[in-house]
Symmetry: C2
Subunit: 549 residues, 2 copies
């Protein structure tokens, strides 16, 4: 019997999934829609399309070609959005540089990615000055200046300034077709130890992440939606996982986009008010700062929808946001996953739940977005029950996960195992389908054949009125494998009053009501003066485990 596979690449009908194809419909539907930078610079989608062509022509003149990596150091701006399109659309690779790293780390990532062109905003002149002699592959520097000054004599030999380069370039460029698996972007993730690791994404991956993310974000019945009538402003840096991919989604939706430059809480809140922003995303810490800044006290935030990611959404923050009328919910993903994996959306019918039940659902890790094959598995790789209790590592397949770490086969082999990307997050799945992360795999305690969440015990201990800080770690135990140990810092006035036994009994009470397993009750509680932290202020459990062992 005849059997014909369809050839997607060879025939006249080939349609590779390329970033350029995201622009067809916004330009058809909404060419006059606005893109705003800091409330000052305003342009239309039509103008942006021309500037994308000018940028591609300017970069070509400076030597960029297919495969060239172009590194960018800028705050959130219309220019960065132009780079999101122009650089991949040429067949070049956009490196979004994490400007929060040290100069030496930044130099490392640029060298490691092999970037040949570096575009940098005026604010990063001192950083680049400090490390420019360490740059091994960059041959061309382009200045990004908000005032559009001439790239005059400077310790960095700029070839051009961004606006001058665009002004001197033609507004049309015939962006070619090429293989959809061509690399489009790269950037570096940082762990608590070791050098930053590069992840990378192809055109195909960005297009599939964009369209599927749009489908997921648009499809709730009401609320928690990103739709064509929204006004979008990122508050996750554009160097971090393409601002969670949202600028691409916003562009396909054809919505007004607001880019805030450097994040200053009062300024951000003013932009929400003045530009009518209705959809944003950020980490919980930033939203907390925004809600508590001076400007926030008088601004109506009740039309604002905010996705929280980069860590759990604390229930207290969710409640504070809901009290202000903010339609808040959690999202989950990581640099390696482009990032979107799940969203804590309410199901049809649950919009009418009372506030406590809503807070509970909105703070979940979420429901997977379409095409994401998400499982929770035990150490043997077998699925654990979706009963809301059993926990396992989250492993995923999706069409937009990094293939590995750049030039790092060892770490890549750990990331991918058995055809699934291993997130190192431990979670349970409730019968209603909601995923809930309970721990990182390196912090989970394996006791009596069960996985005990250090985060959950910490949360319970922190509810004791005398406790200031707490870390729960696992220590080796002949009989149980591991047992939990709690290290507790008391509030000064409670130091004479609270004993280690009292803390243990406090936890045991939760065990006796069945809320936690008996294996979760710490065998040892130690009251200590302080807890070792990492450079970014997180508990350094690795060091704590070493100290206690």
């Amino acid at each position: 019997m005849e059997y014909v596979d369809i050839d997607s690449n060879e025939s006249a009908y080939a349609y590779p999934l390329l970033v350029k194809h995201l622009l067809h419909t916004p330009l058809a539907h909404a060419p006059d829609q606005e893109i705003v930078y800091r409330g000052e610079t305003r342009l239309t989608y039509r103008t942006m399309r021309e500037r994308i062509a000018r940028l591609a022509n300017g970069l070509t003149r400076l030597g960029a070609e297919k495969g060239t990596t172009v590194a960018v150091m800028d705050w959130d701006s219309h220019r960065y959005l132009e780079c999101y399109f122009a650089i991949p659309m040429m067949g070049a690779v956009l490196q979004t540089v994490n400007v929060r790293l040290s100069p030496a780390e930044i130099a490392y990532t640029i060298n490691h990615a092999g970037a040949q062109i570096l575009m940098l905003h005026t604010d990063f002149l001192p950083v680049v000055d400090a490390m420019k002699d360490q740059l091994e592959t960059v041959h061309t520097f382009i200045w990004i200046d908000d005032e559009g000054s001439e790239a005059s004599a400077h310790s960095i030999p700029f070839a051009s300034e961004y606006e001058h380069m665009l002004a001197a370039s033609e507004p049309s460029y015939d962006f070619p077709d090429f293989d959809e698996n061509t690399r489009a972007t790269t950037f570096y993730t940082t762990g608590t130890t070791g050098l930053p690791k590069g992840v990378y994404f192809s055109h195909r991956q960005l297009v599939l992440h964009t369209i599927t993310g749009m489908a997921a974000l648009a499809s709730p019945v009401s609320g928690q939606r990103f739709h064509r009538g929204d006004v979008y402003m990122p508050i996750t840096p554009m160097f971090h996982v393409h601002a969670w991919g949202m600028p691409y989604i916003a562009t396909v939706l054809g919505v007004k986009q607001v880019y805030p430059g450097r994040y200053v809480p009062d300024q951000l809140v003013k932009l929400v008010r003045d530009e009518g922003v209705t959809f944003s995303h950020c980490v919980g810490t930033i939203l907390h700062m925004l809600l508590n800044c001076g400007e926030a006290k008088t601004v109506d935030l009740s039309r604002w929808k905010v996705v929280i990611g980069g860590g759990a959404l604390p229930q207290g923050l969710a409640r504070a946001a809901l009290d202000r009328g903010i339609d808040i919910f959690a999202g989950y993903g990581m640099s390696e996953t482009c990032p979107l994996l799940s969203l804590a959306q309410l199901k049809p019918g649950s919009e009418t739940l009372d506030i406590d039940e809503q807070v509970n659902l909105r703070c979940k890790t979420g429901l997977p977005v379409p095409l994401v094959d998400l499982r929770i598995v035990n150490e043997e790789g077998a699925d654990v029950p979706h009963d809301g209790k059993a926990s396992g590592e989250i492993v995923v397949r999706a069409p937009w996960l990094t293939q590995g770490y750049l030039k790092n086969p060892g770490a890549s082999a750990e990331l991918w195992d058995g055809g699934y990307l291993h997130t190192q997050d431990i979670a349970s799945i409730a019968p209603n389908g909601y995923l809930q992360i309970t721990d990182r795999i390196k912090d989970v305690i394996k006791s009596g054949g069960e996985w005990v969440s250090s985060l959950e015990i910490e949360s319970l201990i922190s509810q004791h009125p005398g406790v200031s800080e707490v870390a729960v770690i696992g220590i080796k135990d002949e009989k149980w494998g591991e047992r939990p140990v709690a290290l507790v810092v008391l509030k000064p006035q409670f130091v004479p009053l609270v004993s280690e036994d009292e803390i243990r009994n406090h936890v045991r009470a939760f065990s006796e009501t069945g809320q936690i397993s008996k294996y979760a009750v710490p065998q040892i509680v130690r009251i200590v003066d302080q807890l070792e932290k990492t450079s970014v202020g997180k508990l350094n459990k690795k060091r704590l485990r070493e100290q206690f062992a």
Copy 2:
């Protein structure tokens, strides 16, 4: 400089776009959601997933394997939905047989596709009986019986009955990974002349059509939306372009789905009422029948959203539907395009337009959906202005267009030209981005260097109170290339009263106000007794042109 393309196929991370991946999230979010057949049979998504595995096992036992074409003749049913998934997921090809064709034509399409297995509903026993001796490739027949009767002695040698086959098969099946460009479905289109032509779609194409269609349908601000809270019922046959791909979208959304069996107007309206249907799609003629059936008079249809396709949405029908509270709008596509190309959605802000302006927009051909690269071009292939006046042929690229016609390289070469699929539809695009089809390319009249729409002149002539029917055709003209000729049938009582000159003057008045070009005024008007029609009741312009020449 190192330059690495990402290899999408070879590595551990490969994620081919396969139909099976559409099931991950509905099963995670909504396993207990209902699928209803004729208001009688009810099952859940979880049960459907088991039945999909049983169907794959049953078909495997009967000899189906990768590449086998399985033809299906059924009314709209939960079984058909199961076939949409199980057959492609096995690596086999689903042929959706157009049951409205003649027995000889049906036999032709089954032979041409090389189907080896034919599944047929009881209602089609006479049809298959009449042509079974003509079937050259079918080796196995499977009976679909609503009563689930045993496949007993019959003139057709059934190997099994659908429900019996499922009951005898295991509820799990390890659906394999394979190349996303593997053919998933095929079906035949019929023109006014010639044999039916086969189109075909791959897994990749179905997945991209589904996710992008979901993104497009979900993203309006309010209204005209297909979202997670809807209840879905198709009223476009499932054999016709996968019921416009909507059952796949409905499944990913995880909504309640209602399959009506054979279309009976009163029954359909009852299902809308009893099952709470909120989203459907059909051709205009069917909606007209539904609105005028007995049952419709008493049923509240104000929660119902209906997409009209398969031809223009007449303004009168749109108004009648809006009067009943139905959220109606047009969609555009064709068998060759899987089908979705555009949707006549209201832009943000235009929800508040008055009824006349809304009707006007809702009846447009629409705004292209994401990833669709849609152009209107003149005979030289150059873009014509988007001024709402200039017209050209619609040519498109999208990731879900048929590669060609099955085993018909001649017709395929005409379909694809210059990297674009040629729709043979003539349209204009307004400055606000809305596409409006004005004619079919074979019916357009090229006069004085302009393209004159025969449909537009017919519409104007039909507004004359004495006119019963009208056909406008082009005839050769030395000076102008072509000139329009109007063939008019008068209402009996007007025959003595209306002259050919009066009709011409009626049209000229529109030319004088600038509504139409002077080239659109028919040079000749002929009053005739009747107009030649095709077998399906459309004007046979080919014959009329021959007669008049």
